[in-house]
């Protein structure tokens, strides 16, 4: 049992932190990146690629760095800390993770190598209108026309869906869900900026040509679910970085801001609430790193449960921290030009991206009889 980063992981964290803080240390720069096309800074994307950050989750054979969830989590925390708009979660973790999970050797090498080098942009089109975080697809269907797979239906919301290549999940004719690679231009796409600065798209497929990821026509729901679980844990890391930044901003504000002639930190009712924020962040930290280790060392079913547990904890904590960070700042916390409110917005978005606390609690509570007490050391 060891909760510490090794030297290499610490070096990675420092490198990513340095890179990101040089670019986004001034929050105005983040706002500028979000406001410009394509919604993030392509130079920064390239720099992350050069640092090896984009290839971390992929094996060396696939063109990646052969690292694992811990390293990916390290990067995601730093991204969350400065609200970097680069589509790490959507492109690398979600879309890349799906290719890594479903693709053949050849597909993985073809896609993940260029993805790792920052040369290929990828997006995962999985969510469907009216759907709520299911592993499978229903409203987008795949059908075999001749020997070509054709996909039809609507995917929404798709993060950064204006990417060159789409990874699309679709219901298979014989039941189950498969994954497909679709050329971006084969879909009709409209994109917009979500309230947290993320680019989200609606992707309409009308008989678009899809190349099956892996074996055609075999149900990949489980592998899709496993990839989503890994992404859930990484999303928790991003939230953790955001929570830490929100807490830091809040304590800094309480120390420096004066009201009624004294610093806000004089008001015990406020400092106690900051203490509760700290408690929530610490507990989440433990849970998220634990889940990351489970994802590294255990099987898919253990990882699902760990992902749900981490996501539940982070959902609760993120709401508390986000809401209190704004409240303890007062009016300035509501403004777009100040980081704290934007962190709260992003925490809210992350919470609803891959399953909120209530969703995971429902799932966890269904398995209650399966054990007496949880033993993380077992």
């Amino acid at each position: 049992m060891d909760f510490t980063l090794d030297d290499e992981q610490i070096a990675l964290r420092e490198a990513v932190r340095g890179l990101l803080s040089r670019r986004y240390g001034d929050f105005e720069e983040r706002r500028r990146s979000v406001a410009s096309e394509p919604g993030y800074d392509p130079t920064m994307w390239k720099a992350l690629a050069e640092m090896g950050a984009l290839g971390l989750p992929f094996t060396e054979e696939d063109g990646g760095m052969g690292a694992g969830p811990v390293e990916v989590g390290v990067v995601a925390q730093e991204i969350g800390r400065v609200l970097a708009p680069e589509p790490y979660l959507s492109t690398v973790v979600l879309a890349g993770g799906m290719v890594a999970a479903l693709g053949t050797d050849v597909q993985r090498a073809e896609v993940l190598g260029p993805l790792s080098s920052g040369d290929l942009h990828l997006a995962l089109a999985h969510a469907e209108p009216g759907g709520r975080w299911s592993d499978g697809a229903t409203s987008v269907t795949a059908s075999l026309v001749g020997n070509e797979w054709r996909l039809t239906g609507v995917k929404e919301p798709v993060l950064n869906g204006d990417a060159e290549t789409l990874v699309v999940t679709a219901a298979l004719p014989e039941g189950g869900t498969g994954g497909f690679l679709v050329a971006g231009e084969a879909a009709m796409r409209t994109s917009a900026t979500a309230y947290d600065g993320t680019r989200v798209s609606r992707v309409v497929l009308d008989g678009a040509l899809g190349v099956p990821l892996g074996e055609a026509d075999s149900d990949a729901s489980q592998a899709i679910g496993a990839a989503l679980d890994r992404a859930r844990i990484i999303a928790c890391h991003e939230a953790l970085g955001g929570m830490e930044a929100a807490l830091k901003a809040t304590t800094g504000y309480l120390r420096s801001r004066k009201q009624f002639g004294v610093p806000l930190s004089t008001f015990q009712a406020l400092t106690f609430r900051a203490a509760d924020m700290y408690v929530a962040v610490e507990l989440s930290t433990s849970m998220v790193w634990w889940a990351t280790m489970v994802a590294s060392e255990r099987d898919a079913s253990a990882t699902r449960e760990a992902a749900e547990r981490a996501a539940l904890q982070v959902s609760r904590a993120g709401r508390l921290v986000g809401q209190e960070a704004i409240q303890l700042h007062g009016g300035i916390g509501m403004t777009a030009e100040y980081p704290v409110g934007n962190i709260t917005a992003h925490l809210t978005a992350l919470d609803h991206l891959l399953g909120d606390g209530g969703h995971h609690l429902r799932s966890l509570s269904q398995r209650l009889e399966g054990y007496g007490a949880i033993d993380p050391l077992a």
Binding site: P129, S191, T198, A269, A336, T348
Partner: protein
């Protein structure tokens, strides 16, 4: 103890319900009921219609358009208005500067301003908060210096809600920097088209533009625009803030939000956890509504009922809780902007910005910390 409304109040309630659905433009009401954004024109048209129907300023003295209603009737008026989807008359006009002018202004000033204030022909902005003052209002710095009969105003106000539509702004300004901070403050009415007044938008985290900074650079204000006496501003400010008490709990609004949440929840309402969450919120909201009724049914003429202090605190908490519920009902659809080309329902796409926007409710207009301080200090004697 009597549960039912009197026959008279029941008839009154009915009358209000009918009036609101007939005199106020349907477009305005439908926009409100569907959770849409109300334009400046809609605000103005709606209040003009209310004023023409004699129900924009019922709590003012009769000579200025008031109706002499009981607090309970005013409550019913307000609740039915909310229920009908009619925007409340602009509070800056009817609850803030109007009553201040009625109480403190000269007859001449009243005649000049009150009719247009009631009809929203003058849209008032509030110039109280400053960047370095926050909840400590009395430490404001915007200065007004004498220049002959005029005042020269310099400084900055902030968090000026809907200031972009304002015609006039009522401001607290420092007219005597040499005395104790509360003692040197006056209230000045400023035409927002005066040279040197600049309104700068503040973008909020929900993407909306609802508040503003208002900058004053050597703005010349005629001496006749001073309300009451010089250095009497703090008294007026306290009077104004004390007036906010009735109807501050947005009960009808939150009820409408929650009823709408039940409608849009669809299948999710089969989930016992969702049902329990809704039922618990409904119960909390009923307790708040009943407390409001307790307060308004017994506050005529006397001191404010002590329970009135819980209304804003609890009202904003519940408003926030319901808005959070709606985001959760929306789920992943909450990530899609309302303006996007999308198959997803608009309520779902508005849910997250609305939730973020309502975080302000516990900050503006006397933060919940201030409310707790009032309860602990004034009511509990701590």
């Amino acid at each position: 103890m009597r549960l039912s409304l009197s026959a008279e109040d029941r008839a009154f309630r009915q009358e209000m319900a009918e009036l609101f659905t007939t005199v106020v433009p349907d477009e305005v009401r439908q926009t409100v009921l569907s959770g849409g954004e109300i334009s400046e024109e809609m605000f103005r048209a709606s209040q003009r219609a209310l004023n023409d129907a004699g129900v924009a300023v019922p709590h003012w003295p009769r000579e200025w358009g008031g109706r002499g209603w009981t607090d309970l009737q005013r409550h019913l008026w307000h609740e039915e208005m909310q229920r009908a989807g009619v925007p409340s008359p602009m509070p800056f006009n009817v609850s803030m500067i109007g009553p201040v002018l009625i109480q403190f202004a000269s007859q001449e000033m009243k005649e000049r301003f009150l009719p247009d204030t009631a009809s929203l022909d003058i849209w008032w902005s509030q110039g109280f908060s400053e960047p370095d003052a926050g909840s400590d209002l009395a430490s404001l710095r915007t200065s007004a210096a004498r220049d002959g009969d005029d005042w020269i105003v310099n400084g900055q106000k902030t968090w000026t809600t809907l200031g972009q539509y304002g015609d006039w702004i009522f401001t607290l300004v420092r007219t005597d920097p040499t005395v104790k901070k509360q003692a040197g403050i006056s209230m000045l009415l400023i035409d927002m088209t005066s040279p040197g007044v600049e309104v700068r938008p503040i973008q909020l985290i929900d993407g909306g533009h609802e508040v503003n900074e208002v900058w004053f650079t050597d703005v010349r204000v005629p001496g006749e625009n001073l309300v009451g006496e010089v250095n009497q501003g703090w008294t007026m400010a306290k009077f104004l803030l004390g007036n906010e008490r009735v109807g501050v709990a947005p009960v009808a609004l939150v009820k409408r939000m929650l009823a709408r949440a039940k409608e849009v929840a669809g299948d999710q309402l089969e989930d016992p956890l969702v049902r329990a969450r809704v039922a618990e919120l409904e119960n909390e909201l009923l307790a708040l509504e009943l407390t409001t009724l307790r307060v308004v049914a017994h506050s005529d003429g006397g001191e404010p009922h002590p329970a009135s202090s819980v209304l804003k605190l609890r009202g904003t908490e519940l408003q926030q809780a319901v808005s959070e519920l709606v985001v959760d009902l929306a789920g992943p659809a909450s990530l899609v902007p309302a303006t996007a080309d999308s198959d997803l329902p608009v309520w779902a796409r508005r849910s997250a910005p609305t939730y973020l926007n309502y975080r302000k409710a516990s900050i503006y207009g006397g933060s919940n910390e201030i409310q707790r301080q009032i309860i602990a200090g004034t009511i509990l004697g701590l």
